[in-house]
Symmetry: C2
Subunit: 647 residues, 2 copies
């Protein structure tokens, strides 16, 4: 056995591994959440580590001799060595920050909830009733449960009361400790039957709910007070499955080997969702056992992985999901492995098809497409790009594989839209970037909206061409080329911001992003074409996703991500999947609405749609091979006016 | 640490224990299921072990110097020692024998099932339907679950289909492996909704059910083929909780300390019920996962312990159970810890009160008391003696604490009515006992029916007096007195039967049995008195319990267990709780019948009933202090004619 010393920020771990062990595997086995979206194929370049002492054996070329940086996945252990895993190579699942931003909640969540409720009625999933039970005597010696049921029947008019084992176990002591004065938290199962979710002493809160968006790359959650429907906190982190593959196809391939399915299920539950829940609870001083509703919206693959359902048929023609409709599924917190009340109501948003999931059926609700006669389109910029077209008469949907680039994945200095992310960029005449950073002085990486700006600006100032390649004839210290001639642009110099390393974007990154935007643009085009429509027919475009809150629509048009129509028609609605989860958690009718939405949507399978591939290739330029599609490209004034403050 | 060598039949175990450790605890910690119904109080004399080498420190007097026998509970470890635990001191949970006795099933189970079905209709809990699903295509790409639901809705007319996570996980692969030709096993939840229990390739059996009687002392189970409702095997063993206390009161006291509740739950589930299920499955070559229904009838304490519900309020005035009605309880196999299909239907028979449990409400069904105008009484001879009086107009019930004597508990050579048990005895003029042994040549112990005969015969031939004490003036080699003057009678001499030890009965055993029979007799008397009736008003007496299949009614009257009325009025119906479980497993209507029975019964709480204690004391003689209550005592002819064959 060989001793490896692994340095991570604030910690040093020593492990013994076999001679010849893969270094990526060795680091993971030590419990370090190292990122590797390609899962060790040597293609994503994310698992960079620094060799501090000793040596390792390389499988391929990648090694930065100067800095000692190697790709962990391409190395095997041959002798004792000290390896430093920089924070850039770590998944950020260990670094969850709960945000409490009441003003923002008002705009993003509450206004929609009220709008929906005023139209469809507010109907909570859970209700609470206080019971003053008589204390039993020798003459009144009915059982504890019978006593509770008797009162519930009398006061609620229900004839049947369902109670589960876990609750039953607590009842005898609870009743006596609270002098038979208790509050029963329940839900209506049908017009005649309720299910008791919790019984507690009087005067306590009804309980809490957690609404979640489980994305391929990121997981976002918010904690809801069920008495007020107010959000007590919001948090996001990487989907810890990312280490096993960046997109759903790689995850599926991993899932079907050995214990892969179990590992993926546990990764997202134990390393992403549960930590988010724990942090949200901690920040609000509540116990996770008080969480009695959980609603999640996820794409179809994520939903199957969350439930531990074999996903291989999702990626094989004819692309069949195990489930779409999620009504009447009997799912417990324990089935998923959630660290919440084991009697909690669990609801997963329904899918439409293999590549249009619950994130979209839930996401259509905040987009409110069906509420109007106007023709609207919803574009959800996720790892899976999903598009919904429709109005009060019809709903059509399709999906495309965009990859994790919109959320900063597979981008050298990419990150989610979280504090420290560069969310907006302008480039001056001196080719220096001016940055807008989310909630911090120092930049840490670039999120999706920042990358859109960056590519648009690089193109506008002429540093890159339509293929996204750096022009070699412009002399500026911000553009560098490596030994293979691959160009990169320094977005933030380490000296200026006091960083360990520069923040930069490479041609490879730009190429990844171009493929992502081409997938979305061409899917949007094909979806419209399939019903004989054109971009100009659109009245409204709703943009959703974890790309960042300040997406610059004009720049997004400039790079050819969005169609070149009047920018006034665009609205950015944020993480619509999370908002949909929240609405479905706080309003039973919203859940029905989402279920019905999923049923109403007509799904177009792009992979078999003639012409899609040609469209995609044509769109793989900045902005497009056919410039007539982008008449206003780079002609729009006030390019950078959305950047609110530059450093 | 001190090394102990523990010898059990066919195995020697070495353990290291602390100086001063209690020997009973040390033996249990070694995984040996040593019996100790008084749970270490030094009162039951069951945990006898033989000191083979070394020494132990004694707390009290009991030590047989000649044989080296000590009570493990009263010893502490002081030095390395070798301890032999004889099979008599072991719980018989490790020695389960599956019985397949088709003729017997006909009489005990099937006739009743048919009788019930002809009156109330047969309605199975589970049904099976074969589905020929179309294989999905790009044009017909609905999800697997949607496809199944569509067919079920069409063919069954239900609008809602409930499916749980465990099943969902299996669906994608199962559908494809069986070429989309599957059989769905389901149950109706209401007129519009079904729950899918299992999905399997076509051509397989629907599944199996297990019906159980969970008694305080013994657990009995039968395995049922759901396609034919035939019993595939029956088995019984000790309730492994017995080591923590012989009766429900001692169990409750154990449960409320430390991890007691968990230990008791696990003892009965992991060491009694699950081993019974595994043996029944093994004997029939089926997987325990194929068991999709489980019905259990148990007294109220056993039900609460099975569910892990805090039981202390059962024994404290006003004696309140946590639950009686078991409808709408949401219990899974996992909640209990059962080794069966995790989607199985679980039903526990409802209780009436703290000391009249599901064993009685289920047991009334085979007794069919409500089906006739005749006044009947059901006497269930369990550790808890339970009595039901009634006819088609009313049902009354009460319970008394009999202790485990009827099932051979707290009797030196007592055992359950299983192969090797002496089930009938006559004593000749030479004072030698003639024995009837269940299914074996050699006797192993005495079961309840044998003890009744034995006491009746000992009294008839004049070896004991009305208090159950041996008369010292009769000289026979079969009666011996120990150093304290306590008499015992040799039932089977070791030389005659080739045994390691004699089989005998002591004055202490007889005293235990007298208390048991006095409890039942006086309870029966008081129940009748409470409605102004007398024994002579009874038209029928149904006797139930695990006492043995060949109870000699006349002898039972002779010893004062049963009232002295016409023996023709008596019928022995066997383990009515198990039969009730079986009926409720095979017929939904039977389950409703049991639920309604529990609601209809009026419970009399004897412990607060004036005069019960006086009645009990008067009945603590053979047959009674008031001989006018037993005019025919020892005058009945053919005392021993029920003994079919004597060895």
């Amino acid at each position: 056995m060989i001793e490896l010393t692994i340095q991570i920020p604030n910690e040093t771990i020593k492990v013994k591994v076999q001679q010849g062990e893969n270094l990526l595997h060795a680091i993971r086995t030590a419990g370090v959440n190292i990122d590797a979206p390609c899962n060790g194929n040597g293609t994503c370049g994310k698992c960079r580590v620094k060799l501090m002492d000793g040596s390792v054996k390389h499988k391929n070329n990648f090694k930065n001799k100067e800095s000692g940086t190697v790709l962990a996945c391409s190395c095997t252990v041959v002798e004792p060595a000290t390896i430093c895993v920089p924070k850039e190579s770590l998944l950020d699942v260990n670094n969850i920050r709960v945000q409490k931003n009441t003003d923002d909640y008002e705009e993003r969540f509450y206004r929609l909830r009220e709008k929906f409720a005023s139209r469809y009625n507010v109907e909570s999933h859970v209700q609470k009733i206080e019971l003053h039970l008589e204390e039993p005597t020798l003459d009144d010696n009915i059982s504890d449960v019978t006593r509770i049921k008797k009162h519930l029947r009398l006061e609620l008019g229900c004839s049947r009361v369902e109670i589960n084992t876990h609750l039953l176990q607590r009842i005898p002591v609870l009743l006596r400790e609270s002098n038979f004065k208790v509050a029963v938290v329940y839900t209506w199962l049908d017009e005649d039957k309720i299910r008791v979710i919790d019984i507690k002493p009087q005067g306590q809160a009804t309980g809490y709910g957690v609404a979640v968006d489980v994305g391929t790359t990121s997981v976002a959650a918010c904690l809801v007070d069920l008495d007020t429907n107010q959000i007590l906190g919001e948090a996001a982190c990487a989907n810890a499955q990312s280490k096993y593959g960046a997109d759903v196809i790689n995850r599926i391939i991993y899932a079907i080997k050995g214990d892969g399915l179990k590992e993926l299920k546990e990764a997202v539950v134990k390393e992403s969702i549960n930590p988010l829940i724990m942090e949200l609870c901690k920040a609000n001083g509540i116990k996770s056992d008080e969480i009695i509703i959980f609603t999640a919206s996820a794409n179809t693959t994520m939903t199957q992985l969350l439930l531990g359902v074999y996903p291989d048929f999702l990626r094989k023609e004819p692309y069949i999901p195990a489930l779409t409709d999620t009504r009447d599924l009997d799912i417990s917190a324990a089935d998923i492995g959630l660290c919440i009340n084991n009697n909690a109501l669990i609801h997963l948003s329904p899918a439409v098809a293999s590549y249009v999931g619950g994130d979209i059926s839930a996401g259509v609700l905040p987009a409110m497409i069906q509420e109007s006669d106007k023709l609207s389109i919803l574009i959800d910029l996720g790892t899976n790009g999903e598009i919904v077209l429709g109005n009060s008469d019809f709903l059509m949907t399709c999906a495309c594989s965009a990859g994790p680039a919109f959320e900063g994945g597979e981008i050298s200095c990419g990150m989610r839209a979280a504090p420290g992310a560069i969310e907006a960029v302008t480039i001056g005449e001196d080719y220096q970037a001016r940055l807008n950073i989310i909630g911090a002085e120092k930049p840490y990486g670039i999120c999706g909206s920042g990358i859109i700006d960056l590519i648009s600006e690089l193109k506008r100032v002429g540093l890159i061409d339509a293929r996204g390649k750096f022009k070699k004839d412009i002399a500026t210290k911000y553009v560098k080329f490596d030994q293979y001639g691959i160009g990169q642009y320094i977005v933030a110099e380490k000296e200026q911001y006091g960083l360990d390393e520069d923040i930069y974007i490479t041609e490879v990154d730009i190429d990844n992003f171009i493929r992502a935007k081409a997938a979305v643009y061409s899917a949007t085009y094909v979806l419209l074409s399939s019903v004989g429509m054109d971009f100009e027919d659109l009245d409204e475009v709703k943009v959703a996703g974890g790309i960042g809150n300040h997406i610059n629509i004009k720049n997004a048009i400039n790079i050819g991500l969005f169609p070149d129509i009047n920018p006034e028609k665009y609205t950015f609605i944020g993480n619509s999947s999370l908002i949909g989860s929240y609405l479905s958690l706080t309003n039973k009718k919203a859940q029905d609405y989402i279920d019905e939405t999923a049923e109403q949507m007509t799904y177009i399978e792009l992979s078999v749609y003639p012409g899609y591939m040609d469209e995609f290739i044509s769109a793989s330029f900045i902005p497009h091979t056919n410039l007539q599609r982008f008449p206003n490209h780079n002609k729009m004034d006030g390019v950078a006016k959305d950047v609110k403050s530059a450093v």
